[in-house]
Amino acid sequence: MKETEISKHTISVLVDNESGVLARVIGLFSGRGYNIESLTVAEVDARAHQSRITVVTSGTPMVIEQIKAQLSRLVPIHKVSDLTLAGPSVERELALVKVIAAGEKRVESLRIADIFKARAVDATNDSFVYEIIGSPEKIDAFIKLMEPLGLSEISRTGVAAISRGTLTM
């Protein structure tokens, strides 16, 4: 890859679930001018008090290396893994999408939801809330199609990711 080429990377970070750890990670990104395209965090091991942070970021190969090295040297961080480089991985995101529409548009939104395997989790006479799970790209595509059909509000979780096969962090 060319030194100046910017690419997207999904980085998983295993951290001690202690106060301030998320602030450290976010502060690192903002302080050093790195991108955050998506960030999710939740405890994954209650007994060991460990959380997993998934960051989607972009940069040149040198910047991506820097991001990983900078993350690795934070004291409460156990492991940093670049899922994009580690091999194939699964990325999923959940979105709740509110569509307010009547008549044909309302029906059309249901049809599209069906194609995307999105579920209506709330319905009124004038609105639906769809729940859709998939890759960020799939969710983007769904949202784009909903735009002319009365799209009025979106809430997305950000990406959770894990490598395929037997490979673990």
């Binding site: 030194e3 001690d16 106060s19 301030g20 602030a23 450290r24 502060g27 302080g31 040198m62 290396e65 820097q66 090295a69 900078q70 690795s72 040297r73 934070l74 004291v75 409460p76 961080i77 156990h78």
Partner: protein, 587 residues
Amino acid sequence: MAERILSGSEVVLQALADQGVEVVFGYPGGAVLPLYDEIFKQNRIRHVLVRHEQAAVHAAEGYARSTGKVGVVLVTSGPGATNAVTGLTDALMDSIPVVCLTGQVPTHLIGNDAFQEADTTGITRPCTKHNYLVKNPDKLARTMHEAFHVASSGRPGPVVIDLPKDILVGKAPYLEPAQVQHRTYNPVVKGDRAQIEEAMEMLASAKKPILYCGGGVINSGTQACKLLTEFTRMTGAPITLTLMGLGAYPASDNQYLGMVGMHGTYESNMSMHDCDVMVAIGARFDDRVTGNLDFFAPNSQKIQIDIDQSSINKNVPVDIGIVGDVGHVLEDMIKIWKAKQYKIEASALDGWWKEIEGWRSKRCLSYKQPKDVIKPQHVIRSIHAATRDRKTYITTDVGQHQMWAAQHFGFEHPYEWMTSGGLGTMGYGMPAALGVQVAHPDATVVCFTGDASIMMNIQECATMTQYRLPIKTVILNNRYMGMVRQWQQLLHGSRYSESYSETLPDFVKLSEAFGFTGLTCNNPADLDDAIKQMLEIDGPVILDVAVDDKENCYPMIPSGKPHNEMLLGQETKGDEAIDSDEGMVLV
């Protein structure tokens, strides 16, 4: 082992004692009164009362940098902690191990905008290597020990422990250092063997090698500095040091080219530019070293050794990046070099040295000392000559005087040079000297400062007097913020906006008011006597030397220029305007 239950303050003091702490630099206040009470009741740990919390951190830095130990600071909550921020940032930039204890309001008041509450862990997160807020007394002892581990291992740095008052007053169990194992922070010290082998092969094949070494060598310890000297002699390669690395290799040695970077020597910078293999050891390719990255050492292969993975490939991509402690890696380098009987091709090396001698013959640091006005460089050289047979430690403030000290005072050993490199903090010099003198009561400690810098922590004169610290503060008084004036002259059409020291105190009277001797000197003929007198006085002295106010610091690589476009003062008669808008934007 049975747990010992103590008060929180007792735990803190016990942990400090068990960590081998002898002295704490601090300033009291409401939130830390329980700790001060505990300090009062014991006599294992000495407390040095500074007059401003920033100075406490700089003093701890001076102590740490001149001993290789961790410096310890104790300040109160709110303003005590915020005053410490500059010092912490300074220690972070220069990788100085410091543990800073800050008081905090009681846990139940945190977040309520209580009196003297500040979000200390929030404020100090980006300016510490790590920080802690202790909310659970069970974690107090562990946190104390862990803080020392984090501050001093890997790439050293400052660590803050924020201590709510109720934790200090309440009961807490004590754990010995040996009972604490850190879970995540265990930096790599051994370098990768295969990479080191590859690196030695690369160096052995060089025709124009250079060793470029920085503060990391000094952080690695005196043994690492010895190994560096051994390795340098074995290879016959030229060596240059960064501002932070001065003393890691003896300045008087013929293989030493002088300092590298913006105000480094001509021979150093030209050698960096023209080399074919560069070995960076504990140096981080700072912009003050590299100049314009687009033209940095364009024909070289680079090897970098650093304990901090994030220092490798940060600014400059390298061919071989070895993560490890400099001392450990040097040991392996020497072994491999010997085992493989490597030798840099003699004819190539000779040719390289001939080229270097050509650059050296420019004598880029030379100056003329006229009869009527004292040249600042001459002050540095004269003091160097006068202190040669004493154990001498030097601290500086920031500006031209700092660069002249770096250029003209030859450092033969590590730990003897304390300066604010990464942050460039005016006000560092005198408090750092306090810390050094506390650590080395019998040594000569000289602080080179400027007429502007000295005013930034002048209150520390009181600390010098109180503890009878015989620090020799030498003001290179050009009545200007000289470095600012120099840039204004070169880059801003000589418009000296706000850089003149309009009103300076009478430093003799000021010294006397603080209870020690002040001396002045403005005649070149009197300089040696003034220095002699200063060194003979048993106590603090401020020597105010009136120096040439027009002198600029050369050589200089203007911001944004490559190494081979240095300005040589003598040659250009100095003082040429730099024709570059680019330079104006850069710092």
